[in-house]
Subunit: 347 residues, 2 copies
DNA sequence: CTGAAAGCGCTTACAG
DNA sequence: CTGAAAGCGCTTACAG
């Protein structure tokens, strides 16, 4: 089956009527519609998207940008795949398709995004991993492409985003550790300019001060957000004079590398050192002793992201009247054994 | 900047000349070309893809289909993200963009593929996780869409694919274990109809027979290809009378669950039971004792996939004259401690 | 070397 | 309720 023209000829009616029947327009005889739908199904006709897009000015495609550099990939978690299901459940109701746009590692993310947006392959974008200063946010704002970001940024002061509750996580982790007698609490932070690092460390600092524990900048360990970064963090931690009795991690896979390095040096996690991890990744569930960490539903996050995005698309806004623009996404503490001891208590 | 018309008006030349200049056609005055390129850059003009696609009958987009059901996702590894970089490095040379098409968990993969193909959003497809009988292979063959599959299938007898060397892996694993005195060797296999399961178990059976070790169907443990599946496999293994002394795994994450269950029951891996894992996943590197497993480069696999695909696209065939259609992708054994003992040797 | 025109496949006012 | 026609943005023979 080629195009609508062949289908129309086959049915011996005009292409206009075929189009109206296929698109569920009301002014079509029911009998005609049935014939059209049946024949289209039988011949496997589906409208060419380029033709539709050109005429309608929209592609019915939402893009999810991900970064696929080789290094990123080695340590990538399934964050995006997890979010995808939730997003699709929302988009399906509007007959929108989600495509993932993997930015090559050797291409500037902003250039890549610009190219994709200018080519008009998508109607709207989801971006993530937002930097503190992120030109993509400006780009999308200026181009008036509907978008939503996973992560805040300083680049524009009023754009749609959802961010994980890094403040809350750092705050509760610090409170929990201080309550157990810890005074020397280290924290890991990403070495990149990603915005969450600032938020995380800042909340850690504030909470310490509120609880009357001095903030020591030496205890902020900047490493890559990866398993290797966790290994490195443990390594640096072991070098510190007046070694900390606790450490708070920021990225789920860090725990794996950190555990490995600590075990190598004979440190007993949950006895000699308290560890609180960030997100409860499936692949960190095996850790012994079990990791105290924070949990969230990627699926639900995907739903929320989808709703915010649609609320910002002219064609769908009406369906989401209460579409909040910004959400701080809460995480729930899952207590484990990795921080289950009190400083000064008998071993 | 809107379309080519505005750009042409701005330059005060015809849209035809603008188009030719932008597309690098030879019959354009160099001075004119410079002006056009400079102005396009300055105004941020990029050709609307729908217009191009409609006119040229091709989208310059290659689709990589992945399955994004919630369950799949929980256990998904980074296989695809890893392959993506290699694919892109090949496609970039031809100005082709790679998009990932995540099939929703509640949609039939074949219907999804049919829809995407019929809408003509991509010029060619990469599919994976091929089933023993896979309608997608028929669909793509009949629709004459260039494609390449990761994994063989019985559905068509001559289509482009690359498959991991499951035969070789099973064969070498069995040989290695038999050489160390094992006679009761269990193997895991996926519970689904995915083709690799058949290949893997069949090679295991043949190798056992060649080495004079009886094949016992009870030692083929069918479980989900996931961490949980590994846990389950260990569980079933422990129930077997005349318990096996070795087990061969098929999916990288299985090792994690398997280790956990074995540790719970006090079995010493590498002493009481030999384990050989499948692929060397980053997140399995922490396992203690270290896992004997097989290694491959996802990046190189991506390159090979890209080349085979292009060799099957009329527009690019000429660049890949020796584009082999099928490749069995080798894996290299990485010896670890998990099988480092001989049956009958003093403990 | 450049311009004018056709046409890719569709949807949608507009007439009837 | 249906058909004929315009036009979305582009590329490409075809004239000149």
């Amino acid at each position: 089956m080629k195009g609508i023209r062949q289908l129309a000829e086959h049915l011996d009616i005009s292409i206009g009527t075929v189009s109206r029947a296929l698109n569920g327009k009301p002014d079509v005889n029911e009998e005609t519609r049935r014939r059209v739908l049946a024949t289209a199904e039988q011949l496997g006709y589906v409208a060419n998207q380029s033709g539709r897009s050109l005429r309608q000015g929209e592609t019915k495609v939402i893009g999810l940008m991900i970064e696929s550099g080789q290094e990123t990939v080695e340590n990538a978690d399934n964050f995006f795949l997890g979010v995808t299901s939730g997003l699709q459940s929302v988009f399906a109701r509007h007959k929108l398709d989600l495509l993932m746009l993997p930015c090559p590692g050797d291409e500037d993310p902003c250039e890549y995004l610009k190219r994709m947006v200018a080519r008009r392959v998508v109607d709207a974008m989801i971006i993530s991993n937002t930097l503190r200063i992120d030109r993509r946010v400006d780009l999308l704002s200026r181009a008036k492409i509907p978008f939503v970001a996973v992560g805040r940024s300083l680049s524009a002061d009023n754009f749609p985003w959802i961010d994980l509750d890094f403040e809350g996580v750092a705050e509760r982790a610090v409170e929990r550790l201080v309550a157990r007698g810890h005074r020397r609490i280290a924290i890991t932070a990403p070495s990149s300019d990603v915005n969450l690092g600032y938020v995380f460390v800042e909340s850690y600092r504030r909470t310490l001060e509120r609880l009357g524990v001095p903030f020591d900048p030496l205890l902020v360990i900047r490493v890559k957000s990866s398993e290797q970064g966790g290994y490195q963090a443990a390594h640096e931690l072991l070098q510190l004079e007046d070694r900390p009795t606790a450490v708070i991690l920021i990225y789920e896979l860090m725990a794996i590398g950190l555990y490995r390095r600590l075990m190598e040096s004979g440190i007993r996690i949950g006895r000699d050192l308290a560890v609180i991890g960030f997100r409860d990744a499936p692949r960190a569930r095996f850790l012994q002793p079990s990791l105290s960490c924070f949990r969230m539903s990627l699926y639900d996050l995907g739903i929320a992201l989808g709703q915010i995005l649609l609320a910002n698309m002219p064609a769908h806004r009406a369906s989401y009247p209460d579409g909040g623009r910004n959400i701080i996404w809460p995480l729930e503490l899952v207590p484990g054994e990795s921080d289950a001891f009190e400083i000064g208590a008998p071993a």
